[in-house]
């Protein structure tokens, strides 16, 4: 991009002094990953101001969960981030387990790690595919990613009965045990994932167009990322070593030696590369988990399925979801429904820095900056 003096003035002053154009991008725009709208103020092609508008997919999730029983809220959490239902389930059941003081048997913990890491694998693969689609690589990377996702979704279907809306985890364990041969099938899928990543990286990593489009674009400074509460791969790409799996040691993650990949520049390319490296680490975790999982009970026999009435109190359960820190804050007044049910959605909070990342870049870069934030509107709007 050629930076003319006028554009530089507009950048430094935050607003240009000649004629500006206001454009409404979305809500029905293929690059907005759902129904997200941005009101952008343009100076030529350069962004001067960006106002996100959301709420088009608002479904009243929190109030519905406050009206329904604790059990009935689980299928609704599937629909928050509808790509990663397993991790959503985990965050919710974790907070209810903290609230009611329910223990989880070891096999169930292993199953949770396996399903969550599989979710992370296909979420990151699809995100890379979508990001490249936004850059103009029409279909090829996305279809390769979807081919692998398909295999993992088949695993989820044979385990839980549903491909995307799994509704699988329960307070104190899981709904059903792994079917015969599932672990072997999962090991097969995992064995094919590593070569797929090699292929994916050969396809993309050195690509000049990818580098030209993403290097130095949408830089998120380290301090801003921390102050804005950004979590997940977006934060780590800015060089902050923060992973809830390492910080909180929830579940049995302290048994798995894995590294936390960090970026240096915090641009779109770093956010892409951090995700690719995270997939490599997830494969290591999965290898170990599939090797170590032992037979045993899958649910705490004392845990109640229906009529759960936790003692009055509050609990916050959080996990490292594929998109960032996903937390559920619950307050119980001793009744059959939560008194307050609050979701801390990583997508929404990561989106708050969108304007800071976009100002000074051209409108075509907005599309890839938004793509690299990795949002799902089901979670943003709830």
């Amino acid at each position: 991009m050629i930076a003319t003096p006028e554009i530089q003035t507009a950048r430094t002053r935050g607003i240009a002094n000649h004629e500006l154009l206001e454009v409404s991008m979305g809500p029905h725009h293929p690059s907005t990953h759902g129904v997200f709208r941005m009101n952008v103020l343009l100076d030529g092609e350069v962004i001067v101001k960006l106002t996100p508008v959301f709420g088009y997919l608002h479904r009243n999730h929190e109030k519905i969960a406050e009206k329904n029983s604790y059990l009935s809220a689980i299928p609704y959490t599937d629909r928050l981030d509808y790509i990663c239902s397993m991790t959503n389930n985990w965050a919710y059941v974790l907070s209810v387990e903290k609230l009611a003081g329910i223990a989880v048997p070891e096999r169930a913990e292993y199953i949770r790690v396996i399903t969550a890491e599989l979710t992370r694998l296909f979420n990151h693969a699809c995100l890379a595919g979508f990001l490249l689609q936004d850059m103009g690589a029409l279909g090829t990377p996305l279809m390769y990613a979807f081919r692998e996702r398909e295999k993992i979704l088949d695993l989820f279907e044979s385990l839980t009965g549903s491909r995307m809306m799994c509704n699988y985890l329960r307070f104190g364990g899981c709904r059903c045990d792994l079917p015969d041969g599932w672990l072997k099938q999962a090991a097969g899928v995992l064995a094919a994932f590593s070569p797929f990543l090699d292929q994916f990286e050969a396809l993309l990593d050195e690509n000049e167009i990818l580098h030209a489009r993403s290097e130095g674009v949408g830089v998120l400074p380290r301090e801003l990322a921390i102050n804005a509460g950004v979590t997940g791969p977006g934060l780590r790409a800015s060089g902050v070593n923060y992973d809830v799996r390492k910080v909180d040691h929830y579940g049995i993650y302290d048994r798995f030696p894995f590294r936390v990949p960090l970026g240096e520049h915090g641009d779109v390319l770093d956010r892409y590369m951090v995700r690719i490296l995270e997939m490599r680490e997830s494969i290591k975790i999965l290898d170990q988990a599939l090797r170590e999982i032992a037979p045993g009970p899958i649910i705490d026999p004392k845990a109640k399925l229906r009529n759960l009435r936790p003692k009055a109190g509050e609990a916050y359960g959080r996990i490292e979801g594929p998109k960032g820190e996903l937390g559920f804050y619950l307050i119980s007044d001793g009744g059959p429904t939560p008194y307050r049910f609050r979701v801390r959605p990583p997508s929404l909070i990561n989106l708050t820095v969108l304007e800071d990342m976009c100002i000074g870049h051209s409108i075509s870069d907005v599309v890839i900056i938004l793509g690299s934030v990795d949002i799902v509107l089901g979670e943003v709007d709830r």
């Binding site: 299928p75 081919r147 279907e157 044979s158 009965g161 709904r175 050195e206 229906r306």
Partner: protein, 186 residues
């Protein structure tokens, strides 16, 4: 060299393109309306009611306890209890539903009704081509009732476990009855 990355990527694309002609593994999809994959055993779509034997009215396992109605997250089930009782498989007198409706347009296929049912009466079906011209789609008791044989066909493992548990209960009930009858005759 500028363009090296692109050429490397194109080689990868070419390998995949050629591979899709001889390697079945690379083709993960089928041409849907002409070719259909059988659903997996655990797959679930909408709920249905199981009946024993051949009579969908007399053999219906449902006892109108309304647990599924209370637990259903989107509240798509509506049950009206009948006032007349009828004997169940153990010979106990049980209520049964006069009306049992499920609004399929509201149902979100979560399977919680099947999970909480203490009578193994409501289970998840595997039908999926449900598109129709009308807006509303409420299934009544007679549409929902399907035989235990059908349940055994779609979920063989689960159905075998359920049948075994119910047979065990019948055996226990008969043993109890025999034990009660024995002192009287003696």
């Amino acid at each position: 060299m500028l363009g090296r990355g692109i050429i490397r990527g194109l080689i990868e694309t070419g390998r995949n393109f050629c591979g899709s002609y001889h390697d079945k593994e690379r083709l993960t999809t089928v041409q849907y309306p002409e070719e259909k994959l059988a659903p997996q055993e655990n797959a679930r779509t909408i709920p249905f009611l199981v009946y024993d034997g051949n009579d969908p009215v007399a053999g219906l396992r449902c006892t109108a306890c309304t647990i599924c109605e209370q637990e259903c997250p989107p509240q798509c089930i509506s049950i009206v209890k009948d006032t007349v009782k009828k004997p169940d498989y153990l010979g106990k007198m049980q209520l049964h539903p006069k009306v049992f409706d499920i609004d399929i347009t509201v149902c979100m296929s979560c399977g919680i009704c099947a999970e909480v049912c203490p009578f193994d009466s409501i289970k998840m079906d595997q039908v999926f081509e449900l598109a129709q011209g009308k807006r509303s789609m409420i299934l009544h008791k007679n549409n929902l009732a399907k035989s235990n044989t059908y349940f055994g066909e779609i979920h063989p493992t689960e159905a075998a476990a359920v049948n075994e548990a119910r047979a065990e209960e019948v055996r226990k009930a008969e043993a109890k009855k025999a034990a009660q009858a024995a002192p009287v005759s003696a």
